[in-house]
Symmetry: C4
Subunit: 274 residues, 4 copies
């Protein structure tokens, strides 16, 4: 990051960067904590503002709070832009866009009438919580989960593809069996029913009435009930495998597959690299 | 595959075979991609055509598209027949029949009045998507899943048999406890209720009203909630096992499936490569 | 089994015992197959007989079939009694009682008016299917499952106890929060709601209406959704463990933990006892 | 525990302590058994007392029983206080507070009118059942489960955080898509719907009506159906891991937790006993 500003300003920017982007210093931790509370409270305000009774009684309070948070997040966004080495890269990164989306809807609502829909975008502020995960040292756990998901991605996709195919086919068959008079008004709606049933959600807004339909629905349910075992098995096998062995290899005999926390090679007894 | 045609024609058929049945050449990949999109769009057309509002407005467009796809798939089917060594074997294979079922309903609908039901068969075109899986190299994943399912098949069957027995017995008891006045009009319907409940779908179209019935239903729910652990455990144990076996093969007898950490081949006792 | 009958009769009883109680001879297999079909058809007759439309139309046929099966099973029961060494032990065993319960209701219905309830007991005939499992060689699978269930029995019980406690406590709290005006008319009914919700069945016949109630219900749902992981984990760990290693130990170096199917010790290469 | 009472009284207190707090002596076991039955019956009385028909008919009986149990538990509480070394520590411990909460509501109901809500607190008596687990020697199982849960706590928290974020975001989007006219009257209520759907409970009291809403709901369902695999995988991996570690302990440094097949201690490198 080549910087061309004078030293004093540079060090100020560096300190700002430490506080805003890192969580190693006390000031950085405090900033992150303040940020996480602001995000949660501002999201709660957006949510409560949508309840009409509360909107009638506390609408003005919500309005003031919302603009307070919007200004706060705007200042934070500008500070982030100012203290980072490559502002453009940040602005186009995932979190940069989320940061921007957190404040833009409030300003746009000043000019646009249908603000209601815009304002819901502010809920995306919640995604910023993930940035603060580093504070509570949960990054390792999140990475572990992501890695296991990533390595089982393809198998889960094949499974989901098969499930969706089954849903479409079962939905289409039910469309013929039950027909529009029992709520299965079209194939897409019948497929929706198949999804509601196979995932064991079961709203009951559409449910089979004929004997054949109920027999078929029973089949769909039992399949949906049973095949959940498959993605669970895939992810579990992935996680169990990731757990069992470290990636250490013995410096003497190159043996691998040591238990987590092992200090000596389990085959030759040599000291492992820490 | 003994061929009796002249060389030039033979090589043309070979090239056609490469393009249509394989996915190693650029032309083959392009063909598979085009096919997958045609299948998905044609299925979407069939689905949307069943929505009465859309049918009224875009019915003519759907009609044209549908016949376009039918002609396309017909040409494809004939090409497949012409370029394969043993056409009859292909025509009677699983995918051969699916390919035929994808086009026949449209032609039949010209002669038969109750076309509506026939046309839904075209949804089976979706099954053709599985053929194209080879394109995206998911075959390995699919095979891995199929193998694990196959080796846990018997255990899952015993589990399912037990579950179905429980459903029939619980359903019958509920038929006595609740009776026709609370929606449990017959044993088959009560068994349907037991399936809806035990799989945790829970439509709510039939639900117990008496105290005893609700107590019994609670038991059914807790059982259904708990025993899903069993198929999941079976499949997971199978998948974990498939993982745990190393990919080593014996340098002497080429046996595979050695335990992690094994030094000697489990079949012939030769030293394994470390 | 000391037998005091003359040789010829003894051998006839032995052959009868082979046919009825075993499945190793062709006659035994045939008998078991015939039995399994009789059971399934007779249960279907009982189920269909409860559908009032079918009862009106085919009632007489059902009546004849039912008495046919009852006589058949009576003869079978008497034959079983006659050819077994200790008839009393059989008659008081689990399957002996099930066999008796399969035929008694039909005879009792001749004398008792409220036959409807009695007749449903005949559904228990289904349990006899488990006896025939030996025919299809699924005993090993069933034993494997039973062993894993048995060894995880205590952990699952502790889990179920905790879940039931949670259901009672959550149900009681909801009784206060929602009250009788929203369907939570008593604590037992509220507990029923908690069971319906926590097992993710969700009929919707009782559902929270107040804001606090919905918030609490959300908590119950998320807990119920998450903790299913626990019994699944217990059973899976049990099954995975049972799978991973045989109980073989090397005759040379006493190493254990060999992969299923291993012929040579994985540590020293010696031949394992088959 | 320094005791300043005369010897004879001291030994009486010791015996009382043995009977009440321990379960090794026959008297202690008997006491625990009597306690567990009293707890269960008293909780049943509280539950049945809330059913208005039963309250009308057996109200007086319930009243007498309830006061009997209250006096019994009061005596038990006082005995516990008197025979323990540090009464204050017990009184402020978790079980000490539960014991107190089991009896206080009944006494308070004498002075306060809105007794109904108070009395439900008595349901917490159920928690006392956990104390008696030591009787049936399930402590080991409970500890095993608790340890696995504790070590997977962080991963499950990250998972739950992600799920709750998804629920809030999906709920907010559905609030815009469906709107108040289809039951999605506010964002909190829409989030409630998202929770009901994603956990596959599916009451059906609120369900999407528009095509876009149903498509989005389908996505929510499939995600909720699939991601249950993740906590299950986490807990299973934890439990499987707890199983896989051998029970070997190093003859030199007594370290435990060696991988199956290890020959050398992973901590000090000494040879493990085979």
């Amino acid at each position: 990051m080549p910087e061309r500003k004078p030293q004093s300003d540079n060090s100020f920017r560096q300190r700002l960067h430490e506080v805003i982007f890192e969580a190693d210093t006390p000031a950085g931790k405090l900033f992150d904590l303040a940020l996480i509370y602001s995000i949660i409270i501002s999201v709660l305000v957006v949510m409560l503002d949508s309840v009409s009774e509360l909107q009638l009684r506390y609408g003005q309070l919500f309005f003031v709070l919302e603009w307070g948070f919007t200004l706060l997040f705007t200042v934070e966004y500008l500070l982030r832009l100012s203290c980072i080495g490559r502002p453009l890269k940040y602005a186009t990164s995932f979190f940069g866009i989320v940061d921007l989306l957190s404040i833009v809807p409030s300003y746009l609502s000043l000019f646009l009438p249908s603000g209601k829909y815009l304002l819901v975008i502010r809920i995306l502020r919640l995604l910023r919580v993930f940035r603060v995960l580093k504070l509570v040292q949960y990054v390792g756990e999140a990475n572990y989960l992501l890695r296991a998901l990533q390595s089982s991605r393809r198998k889960v996709l094949v499974f989901l593809l098969s499930v969706v195919l089954m849903m479409v086919i079962f939905g289409s068959v039910m469309y013929i069996v039950e027909g529009p008079e029992h709520g299965f008004t079209s194939i897409p709606r019948s497929v929706y029913w198949a999804i509601v049933t196979m995932t064991t959600v079961g709203y009951g807004d559409i449910s089979p009435q004929t004997d054949l339909g109920q027999a078929l629905a029973s089949l769909v349910m039992i399949i949906g009930y049973g095949i959940i075992a498959i993605p669970t098995g895939i992810v579990t096998a992935e996680l169990t495998h990731a757990k069992q062995v470290t990636t250490q290899s013995c410096p003497q005999c190159s043996a691998e597959g040591h238990a987590p926390g092992a200090k000596h090679c389990k085959d030759c007894g040599a000291l492992l690299n820490p």
